[in-house]
Symmetry: C2
DNA sequence: TCCCGTTCCGAGTAAATTACTCTACTCATT
DNA sequence: AATGAGTAGAGTAATTTACTCGGAACGGGA
């Protein structure tokens, strides 16, 4: 089961991806717009920052933005960051392997065999889908306008001459 | 994440499948042999019985046995019975659908789209693998003896003339 | 330099879930 | 009727989830 935390994270990231290139987005705006409890969202964004997915800017004119392009942010990484390993059992996790204590011969464990299939299938999907893919798939079937600009508390931010200069620092 | 409950259930079912045709197996023997807390196992077996996967017999000579052949018991059913739906989100569950409250247009939800893929992949695997498949795959790669008979408290039960007459009642 | 807007951090907490245990009951067979 | 089994429901400790609170740290502008 995907936790609310991970779901909120995905929603926030999608919003940030749509606002990509428009400068930092305030936690407060994001929370209001996506109807996510603000304090909870703070935790989540911080996690995502520690994962290298987001970057932040403090003080006036600050907020959060993507650290990488939406094409390079995969759902697997996001969900692992917030919910832990994708694998249904620790003994089939590639990113967080741990032996099951009760199972003595791992090789001969049928449950493990099948769960490994499940893990692989899940990982193939989630590590193969980027934020950009997600957005594209949604927009393709329901081509809505690129959305009124996300930020609202800060009305007159300049959107920067050329789009999306992503600071690498 | 697969719960211990579901894992215990699978282990117990595998053992019962291997003992299929040898008459009822005692909870106590199953618990000891599979190193599962007995009282907990009782709950689990009862669940499986309610699901129509197991049948039981009370009194002396009683115990649990499969209600269907190992070929007809699919992992998906077992796991759903104990851990609930396979789907990572209620809104993509086929067996336990529920709309997400915050998501207004389900059709246009990208998260849902991807999670549906995950659910489908998982279900394809788990609803496509039977107890018999599981056992066969294990035995094929490590062809161990069919195991010393499971029961030990009751030494001299007659194994029934022809194998495996499964009562349909 | 001081203020203010903003993120960052540690702790705390209520509710739900998990992984069990306890006690007693019911039912079948001998 | 005694005994050997499963059946039922309540209870509970530990963990996880989904948050909240209060304030410290930092950055930029006046």
């Amino acid at each position: 089961m995907l936790s609310k935390k991970a779901k909120y994270a995905l929603r926030a990231l999608i919003a940030l991806a749509r606002a990509d290139g428009d400068g930092p987005v305030l936690i407060a705006d994001l929370a209001r717009r996506e109807r996510i409890p603000q304090k909870f969202l703070e935790l989540i964004l911080l996690d995502l920052k520690r994962q290298g997915i987001l970057q932040s800017k403090k003080g006036r004119g600050g907020g959060y933005l993507l650290r990488k392009e939406p094409e390079a942010i995969y759902l697997g990484q996001v969900i692992r960051a917030l919910d832990g390993p994708l694998a249904p059992l620790p003994c089939v996790s590639r990113t967080a392997y741990a032996p099951c204590e009760e199972c003595d011969d791992e090789k001969g464990c049928g449950i493990r065999l099948v769960m490994k299939e499940v893990r692989d299938a899940t990982a193939r999907i989630l590590d193969g889908t980027s934020l950009a893919d997600l957005i594209e798939r949604v927009d393709r079937q329901r081509p809505k306008r690129k959305g009124a600009p996300l930020r609202s508390s800060r009305a007159k931010t300049r959107a920067g001459g050329a789009k999306s200069e992503r600071r690498t620092a």
